[in-house]
């Protein structure tokens, strides 16, 4: 409703401004010799506006084509983010209307919620380890796969490394590998070899939980970025390598740094965006493996905290504050990485 009203308002304002502009223009025309700049600017603005309008009219079909997608995108992606930011300043339990509380949710998050601080710590550990390691692993493996000359084998290797990512909930198998009883692969073999005498409670023990979780996340880290790298590597101009060879590129690492990486910068950036997004959103696989909430919150992430408040405790205002913070940190991180990637090959 409010959106429609806003639109009407905007439409009302436009003609009014136009009229005002015209009035000033005619006034200015009278005093043309004294102050030529203002009316000229106004006239220019008017022409620009008219140009814009005709330009838009000319492209009516283009606007029609983007309309369906843009409407849905607005409704399910853009508006939700705005709502989330708005709700983060309120106290909202779905049943009663939201109540404005200013910055209280944010203050509570940082000064009154120890579990949130644990979650932030865990998220950063995951992001700092699995993000860069996963990213470089994907790049490195894509690079080595690209060196394989046999096309079939190359396709097979790509599938092999990408399979864990597309296999849905196949990560459940790690629950069997690191099961807490004798029948799990890890315990069974360690005991048989006489390394341990009783089963280790892998996911229930805070000292192992984090490490195993990192292994599982790395296992799944060959995502969309990996495919992008594979494709980027295949399309590097072959003649560049020969030219580089003439210019004294001696080994494969020099070749990688001076030729390959600079010519696939765009894919590197795309991969980085995908990695940052996924490494800050870690939750589902850990909830399935280590339980939700995990023992002593050992792998409780910011997203876990968000899910906890959003779907279990129904404190939507508080949950929205967490979502907003996560969003801001993710965007900032991406901007930073964009800057860093500008330095590749220099």
């Amino acid at each position: 409703m409010s959106m429609i009203q806003g639109k009407e308002k905007a439409e009302n304002i436009k003609p009014m401004q136009k009229k005002k502009g015209r009035q000033e223009l005619s006034e200015g025309a009278g005093r043309e010799n004294e102050q030529p700049l203002v009316p000229m600017l106004l006239a220019y603005a008017k022409i620009r506006r008219k140009q814009l309008f005709t330009e838009m009219k000319k492209n009516k079909s283009a606007y029609l084509m983007i309309l369906p997608y843009c409407l849905l995108f607005l409704l399910f992606y853009l508006v939700p983010v705005c709502i989330s930011v708005g709700l983060s300043f309120t106290n909202f339990n779905v049943l009663e209307p939201p109540e404005f509380v200013g910055l209280r949710n944010y203050i509570d998050l940082f000064f009154a919620d120890n579990i949130f601080l644990t979650a932030v710590k865990n998220t950063f550990i995951f992001a700092i380890i699995t993000g860069p390691v996963g990213y470089f692993m994907a790049l490195f493996i894509a690079w080595m796969i690209n060196d394989i000359k046999n096309r079939k084998l190359r396709a097979f290797m790509t599938l092999l490394f990408y399979a864990p990512t597309i296999s849905g909930q196949a990560y459940i198998i790690w629950k069997f590998i690191f099961s807490s009883d004798l029948y799990g692969i890890a315990n069974g073999w360690l005991m048989r070899l006489g390394i341990i005498s009783e089963p280790i409670l892998w996911f229930e023990d805070a000292s192992y939980c984090m490490t195993i979780s990192i292994v599982v996340i790395l296992w799944m880290s060959m995502g969309t970025g990996f495919l992008s790298f594979i494709a980027g590597l295949q399309n590097v101009d072959r003649s560049l390598y020969e030219a580089g060879y003439m210019d004294g590129v001696k080994n494969r690492f020099q070749e990688l740094w001076y030729i390959t990486l600079p010519s696939m910068k765009e894919q590197l950036l795309f991969g980085a965006v995908m990695t940052v997004t996924s490494s800050f959103a870690i939750h589902d696989q850990l909830a399935a493996l280590a339980g939700f909430p995990s023992v002593k919150y050992c792998v409780h992430t910011v997203v876990s905290h968000l899910v906890d408040y959003g779907t279990v405790r129904l404190e939507m205002g508080y949950a929205s504050a967490i979502a907003t913070l996560l969003f801001v940190v993710m965007i900032a991180c991406n901007k930073l990485i964009q800057k860093l990637l500008g330095k590749v090959g220099k």
């Binding site: 995108f73 080595m144 765009e266 965007i331």
Partner: protein, 289 residues
């Protein structure tokens, strides 16, 4: 293996043989790390129950059986809602969502890539930023929006948001840039309307990108439990029903392994079928500064 080594010899001059050997070794080790859990999943789904709980645990199955899969069928025929219903729901949601996504995302991508109009750059910039939105950030407001427009507990709550996924639009737009302008111009001079140019000229040119969108969209929808938006049993999806079966614990360990294998087989097969197209599309996936 010999074949690989032979091929390696023909590699670039700047690549030493020792380096090739090391890289082959690393690939093998990493490949095993990736493959073993998947192999274990398949092997587990073929194990009879007594083999799943044996000390010391066996990695590979000794007496393979399809009991787990047949048990799954029995369990499903006993379920409250006929099992075919879950199956139908998932197929319907996946197909409808994927088709809708293909249509509206490629139409929008076409306009953004091949037409210059005021606002195009801004819109695309916003969509690139939206690549960074994770599902959880928008989950709560999405629930509120769904309940406002009365879509809770309908297929639409699963299908429609998936149609507007930014990743698909982004990839499609980058791929569309490669269509030669002359081709479109020729059609326009012949008097084709813009929608005809899109359907008849542009779409056939971007088949690899379409298949890529299919696999990404399919993956998302195929694995979607949708338990937040859907609460009537007869609208629930296959992954949800299967997760309920798996949740029953130790007695169903075998069945749950069978479930995992079934769920992962479909996307893997689809990926194999579309792989070369996907690689071709991803080549244009870069984000320009």
């Amino acid at each position: 293996m010999r074949a690989i080594l032979k091929h390696k010899k023909r590699a670039n001059a700047s690549h030493s043989a020792a380096g090739n050997a090391v890289s082959f070794l690393i690939l093998t080790v990493m490949g095993l790390f990736m493959a073993l859990p998947i192999i274990l999943s398949v092997s587990n789904s073929l194990k009879p129950l007594e083999e799943l709980f044996v000390f010391p645990p066996k990695f590979l199955v000794r007496n393979p059986t399809t009991d787990n899969f047949t048990d799954l069928l029995t369990l499903m025929s006993e379920s409250w809602v006929p099992f075919t219903r879950y199956f139908f729901n998932t197929i319907f949601v996946t197909v409808a969502g994927t088709l809708g996504h293909l249509l509206i995302a490629s139409m929008c991508a076409f306009a953004l890539a091949k037409r210059k109009f005021p606002g195009a750059k801004l819109i695309f910039g916003i969509i690139v930023t939206a690549l960074m939105f994770s599902v959880q950030v928008t989950a709560i407001p999405n629930y509120l929006i769904m309940s406002k427009i009365g879509w809770l507990d309908t297929y639409a709550s699963l299908i429609v948001p998936a149609m507007a996924k930014p990743l698909g639009l982004f990839l499609m737009k980058q791929f569309m840039e490669q269509i030669p302008d002359a081709l479109l111009e020729a059609a326009r001079i012949d008097g084709a309307r813009e929608f005809t140019v899109f359907f008849r000229v542009a779409l056939p040119q971007v088949k690899p990108a379409l298949l890529t969108l299919v696999i990404f969209c399919f993956q998302d929808l195929w694995n979607m439990q949708g338990a937040t938006y859907i609460y009537s049993e007869k609208l629930k999806t296959l992954p949800y029903a299967l997760s309920q079966i798996s949740a029953a614990g130790i007695s169903r360990a075998g069945v749950s392994a069978a479930v995992t294998v079934i769920m992962m087989t479909v996307p893997i097969i689809l990926f194999i079928l579309c792989q070369s197209n996907i690689v071709e599309t991803m080549a244009s996936s870069g984000i320009k500064d």
